[in-house]
C-alpha cells in the first residue's frame, strides 16, 4: 500500500511538471494560435540554466554558481524567456506550418548544442552536480518526494490561476482577437506582432519553469531529456485535453502521461513471457492508436474551449483545433 502511494506521489509530481509545460503551450497555441514545434528547447533552456546556476562547481563544464534555489529557478525561466524572445523576433511572422518547422529546428539545434558543447553543458553525458534543495533536512526518500510534490502543485496552481486571469483580461481577449482575425485586430489599432511576441515569451517562460522543476527533481539533465519526443508528448496532452481550455490541458496531461506509463506497466504484467521482448514496440503501437482514435472520436479534445464572447458575431466555431489559417 505504501508502495502504491509512493508511486502515485512520484507519478503526480512528473505529471504536474508536464502539466505546467502544457499550460505554457496552451497560452501559445490554444489562446494565441502560435504553432510552437520546439517546446523542448524552452523546457530544456529552463532545465539546463537551473542546474548550471544552482549546481555545485564541476571540473569539466560551466556552472556551479551555487545560487539560492529560487534564484536558480528564476534564472532558468529567464533563460527560456530570452531564448523565446530571440526566436520570436525572428520567426513569429511566419505562417503556422512554417513557424512549426522553424521552431522545431530551434529545438534540434538546442539539443545538438547541448550534446556537443561539453564545456558549456557537459556534452552527451549530461549535467550533474546539483544538490536538491532541502535534501539535507528532508533526506532522499518519501518525505522529500511529498514535500516536492506540494511545491510543484503549488506552482501548478499559481500558473493555472495566473493564466486564467490573463485570458479573461483585456490582453487575453486581444490574443483571441488576433488569433481569429489578425486584419480586424490590426484595423482596431492593435499591434499583433507585439502581442504575439509577449504571449510567446510568456508561454515559454512557463515551459522553462517546468524544465527547471524537472531537472531539480532528477538532479540531472542530459541531451536525452530534450529530444523531440517530449515536444510530441506535450502537444498530444494539449490536443487530447482540449486546446484553449486550461482545465483540459491539465486533464490531458494526466491522461496521456498516465496512459503512456500505465500501458508499459500493464504489458509488463499481463503480456505472455515470450512476448515480453516485444512489449516496447507494442506499446508504441498502442500509443499511436490511442492518439489516432482520440482524434477520430473527439478532435476538439475532452474539454473543448469555451469561448468567452460578449457578443457573438461569428457563426459557431466548430473546428476549434485547426480551422484557422
Amino acid at each position: 500500500m505504501i508502495g502504491v502511494i509512493s508511486y502515485l506521489v512520484f507519478f503526480t509530481t512528473v505529471a504536474s511538471i508536464l502539466a505546467i509545460a502544457v499550460l505554457g503551450l496552451n497560452l501559445q497555441w490554444g489562446n494565441t494560435g502560435l504553432f510552437n514545434g520546439g517546446v523542448v528547447a524552452f523546457f530544456g533552456a529552463g532545465a539546463y540554466a537551473t542546474l548550471i546556476l544552482g549546481g555545485t562547481p564541476q571540473a569539466d563544464h560551466l556552472g556551479g554558481f551555487e545560487l539560492f534555489y529560487p534564484l536558480a529557478l528564476l534564472g532558468g525561466m529567464l533563460a527560456a524567456g530570452l531564448l523565446a524572445w530571440l526566436v520570436g523576433v525572428l520567426t513569429l511572422r511566419l505562417r503556422h506550418d512554417y513557424l512549426a518547422i522553424a521552431t522545431f529546428g530551434v529545438a534540434v539545434a538546442f539539443e545538438t548544442l547541448m550534446r556537443n558543447a561539453e564545456g558549456l553543458a557537459g556534452g552527451a553525458k549530461g549535467l550533474r552536480g546539483f544538490e536538491r534543495p532541502l535534501r539535507e533536512a528532508l533526506g532522499d526518500g518519501f518525505t522529500y518526494n511529498l514535500v516536492f510534490l506540494a511545491f510543484v502543485l503549488t506552482l501548478l496552481i499559481v500558473v493555472y490561476v495566473f493564466l486564467g486571469r490573463l485570458i479573461r483580461s483585456p490582453f487575453g481577449r486581444m490574443l483571441r482577437a488576433i488569433r481569429e482575425d489578425e486584419v480586424a485586430a490590426k484595423s482596431l489599432g492593435k499591434s499583433p506582432s507585439r502581442v504575439r511576441l509577449t504571449a510567446f515569451v510568456t508561454g515559454s517562460v512557463i515551459m522553462g519553469l517546468a524544465g527547471g522543476l524537472y531537472a531539480t527533481f532528477y538532479a540531472f539533465i542530459s541531451p536525452q531529456d530534450v529530444l523531440p519526443i517530449l515536444t510530441f508528448q506535450i502537444w498530444a496532452m494539449l490536443i487530447v485535453g482540449g486546446a484553449g481550455n486550461n482545465a483540459g490541458a491539465v486533464l490531458g496531461t494526466f491522461i496521456i502521461w498516465g496512459g503512456w506509463t500505465a500501458s508499459g506497466w500493464a504489458l509488463s504484467r499481463f503480456a505472455p513471457i515470450e512476448a515480453q521482448l516485444y512489449t516496447g514496440t507494442v506499446q508504441f503501437i498502442l500509443i499511436g492508436m490511442i492518439i489516432v482514435g482520440m482524434l477520430m472520436w473527439r478532435p476538439q479534445g475532452l474539454l473543448p474551449e469555451r469561448l468567452v464572447v460578449s457578443q457573438s458575431g461569428k457563426p459557431e466555431n466548430k473546428h476549434k483545433t485547426g480551422s484557422r489559417r
Partner: protein
C-alpha cells in the same frame, strides 16, 4: 568541397522524390503529414519481400545489372512495391485521414499523422525485426571521376539520381500536358470550384496518394540501395524531407525538387564548416535562413 556538392546532389535526389509526394499532400489536403516518410519504409520493405520472392522463383533474375548492385529481381520488385505503397497510402487515408478530415481541423490531421507514423513504424519492426537489412551484401566500389581534386561517385547513386530525374520529368509531363494533371491542379487551386466543374474530389485525393505513395516507394528503395533498410528509415528521413518541402515552398513540386537537392547539399557541405556533431542542426539553419528571406519558401505562395 566539390565532392561534398556532388554527394549532396546524389543524396538530395532521394529527398526530392519524398518531398514531391509530401508537398502535394500538404498543399491539397492541407495538413503536414508526418506519416509520409513511413511510406518510404513500406516501399523499401515491400521491395525487399518481392525481391526475395522473385530471386527465389526465377534465380536468373538475381543477377546484378553491372555496374550496379541493383538486380533484375529488385527492378521488378520496385514496380510492385510502388503499387503496394500507393495502396497502403490509400488505405490509411480511407480509414484514418478521411475520417479525421471529416470532423477535425488541420491540427487534428497533423497529430493523427504522428499517431499513424508510430503505428506503421512499429508494425514494420514487429514484422521484420529491428535489425539492419540489405538488398545486396556486395559493396560496389565508387568510381574515380577525377583524381585532382579527388572525386568519387558510386554507380548506384548515379543510377538513383538519373532515375529520379526521369521520374520527375514524367510527372512534370503528366501534370502539365494531360487532363488528369489539369484536374489535379484545379483541385489544388480551388477545391470547391473544381468540384463545381465536375471533378470528383475523392478520385483526386486517391490520385494524390497514388503519386505520393509511388514516389515514396521509389525513394525508399533507392535509399535502401544506397544505404540500408531498417524500420527507422521513416524516422530518420522525415525531417530532411520536411525541410526540403518547406524550403521549396509548400505546394510547389519544383520547389520540392530543388529543396531536396538544397537540403542534401547543405548537410554535406555543413561538415566543411562545422564539427560533425552539429550536423543534425544544419538543415534547420538552412530553413531558418530561407524563411527569414522568403517567409513562404522559395516557390511557395502566400495562402490566407
Amino acid at each position: 568541397m566539390i565532392q561534398s556538392l556532388l554527394d549532396g546532389i546524389l543524396v538530395g535526389s532521394i529527398l526530392s522524390l519524398g518531398a514531391i509526394g509530401l508537398t502535394m499532400a500538404m498543399h491539397m489536403l492541407r495538413f503536414a503529414n508526418f506519416a509520409h516518410a513511413e511510406l518510404l519504409s513500406i516501399g523499401a520493405y515491400a521491395a525487399l519481400v518481392f525481391d526475395g520472392l522473385f530471386s527465389a522463383l526465377f534465380p536468373p533474375l538475381a543477377a546484378a545489372i553491372a555496374p550496379l548492385s541493383l538486380t533484375w529481381a529488385l527492378s521488378l520488385a520496385i514496380i510492385i512495391s510502388m503499387a503496394v505503397t500507393a495502396g497502403s497510402a490509400i488505405l490509411v487515408d480511407r480509414f484514418v485521414f478521411a475520417r479525421v478530415r471529416a470532423i477535425g481541423g488541420e491540427l487534428s490531421m497533423v497529430f493523427a499523422s504522428f499517431g499513424v507514423a508510430l503505428v506503421l513504424r512499429n508494425l514494420i519492426s514487429l514484422i521484420f525485426g529491428l535489425k539492419t537489412q540489405l538488398y545486396s551484401q556486395d559493396i560496389v566500389f565508387a568510381v574515380v571521376i577525377s583524381a585532382d581534386p579527388l572525386l568519387l561517385v558510386k554507380p548506384d547513386q548515379v543510377f538513383a539520381l538519373v532515375a529520379a530525374l526521369v521520374i520527375m520529368l514524367i510527372l512534370h509531363l503528366v501534370l502539365s500536358r494531360t487532363t488528369l494533371g489539369y484536374s489535379l491542379r484545379a483541385v489544388a487551386e480551388n477545391p470547391t470550384l473544381a468540384q463545381v466543374s465536375g471533378i470528383r474530389l475523392s478520385r483526386m485525393i486517391a490520385l494524390i496518394w497514388i503519386i505520393g505513395g509511388g514516389l515514396a516507394a521509389v525513394a525508399g528503395v533507392f535509399y535502401g540501395l544506397t544505404n540500408q533498410i531498417s524500420p527507422v528509415i521513416g524516422r530518420d528521413l522525415v525531417l530532411p524531407i520536411f525541410a526540403a518541402t518547406i524550403v521549396g515552398g509548400i505546394g510547389s513540386i519544383y520547389g520540392a525538387v530543388l529543396g531536396g537537392f538544397l537540403v542534401g547539399i547543405a548537410s554535406n557541405l555543413a561538415l566543411v564548416i562545422l564539427p560533425s556533431g552539429y550536423s543534425p542542426a544544419v538543415p534547420f539553419l538552412i530553413i531558418l535562413a530561407v524563411l527569414l528571406i522568403r517567409p513562404n519558401g522559395l516557390f511557395g505562395e502566400a495562402r490566407e
